[in-house]
């Protein structure tokens, strides 16, 4: 088993854990955290491919990871703001009870 393969497998496992959390948890904040975990797995892939790629001195993977982390931070701030607004509206963060748009 090569080392890139082990990093990719670890990243796939992190992605699946985040996906499982986003699909099964009822607390909206923990669903958002699951999405953050999936973004983290993608970042780990960027760095692993950069390090094992043919030209690691070109900084491409590092730049991708830095910009991806910035976008994830913006997403977390806006997502938690939306959760606070939804909590003020419906007095709950339980996603199974946020069904006022359901037909």
């Amino acid at each position: 088993m090569s080392s890139l393969q082990s990093y990719l497998l670890l990243s796939a496992l992190l992605f699946s854990i985040g996906l499982a959390g986003a699909l099964t948890r009822r607390n909206a904040i923990l669903v958002l955290i699951g999405i953050e975990l999936m973004l983290n797995a993608a970042n780990l892939n960027f760095i692993a491919f950069w390090r094992f790629g043919p030209t690691p001195s070109k900084l491409t993977g590092i730049m991708f990871a830095i910009f991806s982390i910035s976008v994830a931070a913006a997403e977390a701030a806006v997502g938690l703001g939306i959760i606070l607004a939804a909590y003020r509206h419906s007095k709950t963060t339980d996603l199974d009870q946020m069904n006022s748009l359901k037909g």
Partner: protein, 166 residues
């Protein structure tokens, strides 16, 4: 695959799995910081020191604190505790396991993953800063604009509008 990688991988997976599995939301965020720190250590292991330290500052520092604040502000004592998992949690677990199976199959059958490790690149922060200020200056400016918009947007969305009416 070294012993360091194995230890970090076990730590990261245990932290994230606990973050997605525990019932108390505050415990989840505490476990999540362990997982994020493990990912940061993996970045350091991959010779990406700048990204590793950025990961610690942004995720362990900012995102986890933000999540704890959101949990505190949305916490309301209810007579009946809300169950931690959705009613159709088994379906979500099956979907996640299927996604992992497909990804693992693709990784194991790919020839690209049999790369050997190139020699360690000598990257320092000065080179990253110069690249950000020359080659990647437009994405950097757009990122600054995006972060400003996200900051203002988050404040506007989370603001209590009832006080304006009074």
């Amino acid at each position: 695959m070294t012993a360091t990688f194995l230890i970090l991988a076990v730590l990261t997976v245990a932290g994230t799995a606990a973050a997605m599995g525990l019932r108390n939301a505050v415990h989840c965020v505490l476990a999540l910081t362990v997982g994020f720190a493990g990912v940061a250590a993996l970045y350091l292991q991959l010779d990406a020191q700048f990204v590793g330290l950025t990961q610690i500052m942004v995720y362990v520092g900012a995102v986890a604190i933000l999540a704890v604040f959101a949990i505190m502000m949305t916490h309301s004592p209810t007579p009946v505790p809300i169950p931690a998992y959705s009613t159709r949690w088994a379906l979500g677990g099956v979907v996640a396991a299927a996604v992992f199976a497909v990804l693992a199959w693709a990784i194991c059958s790919s020839s690209a993953s049999s790369q050997i490790l190139p020699p360690q690149p000598d990257i320092n922060v000065q080179q990253i800063g110069e690249a950000l200020m020359h080659q990647y200056v437009l994405p950097l400016e757009i990122m600054g604009l995006l972060l400003t918009a996200a900051l203002i947007g988050a404040v506007v969305i989370a603001m209590d509008r009832k006080e304006e009416i009074k």
